[in-house]
Every structure is written in C-alpha cells, then in structure tokens.
Symmetry: C2
Subunit: 207 residues, 2 copies
C-alpha cells in the first residue's frame, strides 16, 4: 500500500481544523507557520504552540482516538502535508523506529506543556516574558545582538497567557529599567541578561 499523503495550502488566517472536530489524520508543516490554540467562552485565546517547517500537527488525536483537543490556524500562507489516520499506523507497522521517534516528539511536547503550566501557574507575566526574550535571543540572534520577533505582539501576548495591553506595559517597564532596548515595533536588544534571568526565575521583580 502506498503511503497516501496530500499536500494542502492554507492562506493566512485560514482554519486548518477546529477544536472538537473529528480527527481524520494529521499534518506535517512544510512551510509557513501554524498556531494551535484554545478559545475561552469570551473569545480570549491561548496559543499552545506555534509550529514551523518539519513539525507535525494533530498527532495527538490519532493515538487517543478522539477529536482534536484544540484548533489550528495558519498564521501566514502555509503548505502542509496531510496524512490520513491509517497511514501513520501503517508506517509504524513497517518501521517500528517511527514509533520511537513519535514517542520522542510527544515527550518533547509534554515537556513544553509542563513548562507552560508552570509559567501560567507559578510565574507572573514579567517572568514569562523575560524567559521568552532570552530564548528568542539565543535562537535568533546570538547573545548581545538585536533580534526581531517573528510574530505580532498580540500573538505573543496570547502565547504568554496575557493580553496586548499588559504586554505593552511590561515591555515599557523593562525598557525603563534598562533591561532591554526597543527598536521599532518588533526589534529588541537585551541589555541586561542577568536581570532578565532573575526575572524569569522569580528572584527579582520590576519596580
């Protein structure tokens, strides 16, 4: 049997699937960026993750035989590869190492969620933001260099479990304390790594 896989293109803002929908397969992101999110009754959004090229999407639903636990939407024009449910099971049967790989992916995701839960429950917004900035600096720029967010601030707020207004205020305070420097709308430079680290681990607070 051939491993049927179908390439699909989603425009910016297009829904890939909604929470509660029946799962018929999973996706692999080829290009673009996709967000997975939850919505509250009042419409507030919590982003669970943002996926880029090479990352799988919707695998969870395949293994637990239920509907999608969250929605997914393209943040920009994106190409995805769709795998019908059965083909994954088939792939595992052919090559058991696929299973181990998949277990690794899920474990990593679980770890990421653990951290998000920790952040939401045990840290304040400045701490979450500090951690995010430090991580982005190292993955995008390199220590001491300036870097630029790849997502709008409203999306960042939703990723950090807050709202744009709060995010904006906290960035302003960080800048006032010379922890960071803001360049235009999305540009950043970290001035005080130590200070941000202390914020991230809760041993310091903004005044």
């Amino acid at each position: 049997m051939a491993l049927a896989a179908l390439e699909q293109v989603f425009e910016k803002g297009q829904l890939i699937f909604s929470e509660g929908e029946d799962c018929v397969g999973f996706y692999l992101v080829l290009s673009g960026r996709v967000k997975v999110f939850k919505l509250s009754a009042e419409g507030k959004e919590q982003i669970l993750h943002i996926l880029g090229p090479g990352e799988p999407l919707g695998e969870v639903a395949v293994f637990s035989e239920e509907s999608f636990p969250a929605g997914a939407q393209a943040m920009e024009k994106s190409r995805l590869l769709f795998f019908p449910k059965d083909s994954l099971v088939e792939m595992i049967r052919r090559d058991p190492s696929v299973a181990l790989k998949m277990l690794g992916v899920l474990s990593k995701r679980l770890r990421k969620f653990t951290r998000l839960i920790e952040d939401l429950s045990l840290k304040e917004v400045p701490g979450r933001l500090a951690a995010y900035l430090l991580e982005k600096e190292s993955s995008l720029g390199g220590k001491g260099n300036s870097f630029s967010l790849e997502i709008p601030k409203a999306q960042l707020a939703s990723l950090l479990g807050t709202i744009p207004e709060t995010l904006s205020r906290i960035l302003a305070r960080m800048a006032a304390e010379e922890l960071i420097q803001l360049n235009g709308t999305r540009g950043f430079r970290i001035l005080d790594h130590r200070g941000l680290q202390e914020l991230a681990q809760g041993s310091r607070r903004l005044s």
Copy 2:
C-alpha cells in the same frame, strides 16, 4: 534478557524523584497514590497529576533523554514497580504494540495538560472547581449522590492552581448559592448540576 523490574515501597510524603534529576527509568504505580508537581521559587506548588494504581510515572524522561521535568512524591504509602530505562526500549522491540499503547498514554496525558493549560489561562477558579466537582461526582458517586474527596483541600487547591484560602472561600460561596452542599470536611453533594456546568464553561459567575 529478563525484564528486570524492582518493587519499591514509599512512605507517605517520601520523594520518589526530584525535578532535574537524571532519569534512570520509569515506574508503575501498584498501590497508593502519587503526585507529580512543580515548585515555584517561593515554594508554591502546582500539581500536574495524581496517579493511582496501574498508571505509569516518569515515562516522559525515558523517551526524550533528559532529566525529569517535575518532581514526584508519595501522597500515601505506595508500592511502585521500577523499570530501568533500557527495559522499556527492549519491551518495545519485542512487541511493537507496546509502543502504540505508550503513544496512547502520552496522548492522553497531553490532552489532560491541554485542559489544565486552558483552565489556568482562560478560566477563573470557580470554573475550575466546578469542573472538578462535576468530574469527581461522576467518577466517584453517581449523579445526585454525595461523594467524598480523596485528597486534602490543600492538595486540591494546588491541583487547581490556587491556594487553600481561595478554595475555601469559593466553596463557601457555592454553598451559599445552593449549588452544592458541604458535609463535614470532605463530603459533597451537588445540588445544581446545571449551575455548576455554567460556571465551568464560563457562562455564569458567582455573585
């Protein structure tokens, strides 16, 4: 090769492993109850899950080749079966269906975390509590029957991402609005299912 597995007994309150420790294997709960948790810098605790007989513990660390992402502690005297890291990989090699089963377990856990994140980020404490009570009623008592918490309220608070004082106040308010009835320290009866459901989904608030 024999599948080495070692039975271990942990007393109430005893640590099974700490966050950050190197993972040398995983456990299966035989009896008792075990909590998995995160601690903040100031000592506040967030319980990630409470595991009972038949549930695996610490699997995540096995697959992602890193240290434990959270700590684990016995909530009462518990017997656990310990499996060295390699034996799980070996089990999967012998019987690939083990991998599928494990994938199912991880998926379920991921789903649970998704809900916890949703709760922490998008719901208020009364909503989380209402959802918890409804779930416990159906798993312990049966609709309309009274039931009794199996954990101290302080632990419940930590599971819901709040503190005992807040929990206590909200229970009192729920009782005042005749949504629930409190019997002694741990006894409950749900009087108004509809009301609690509305609280849980955010379409109603306590006054």
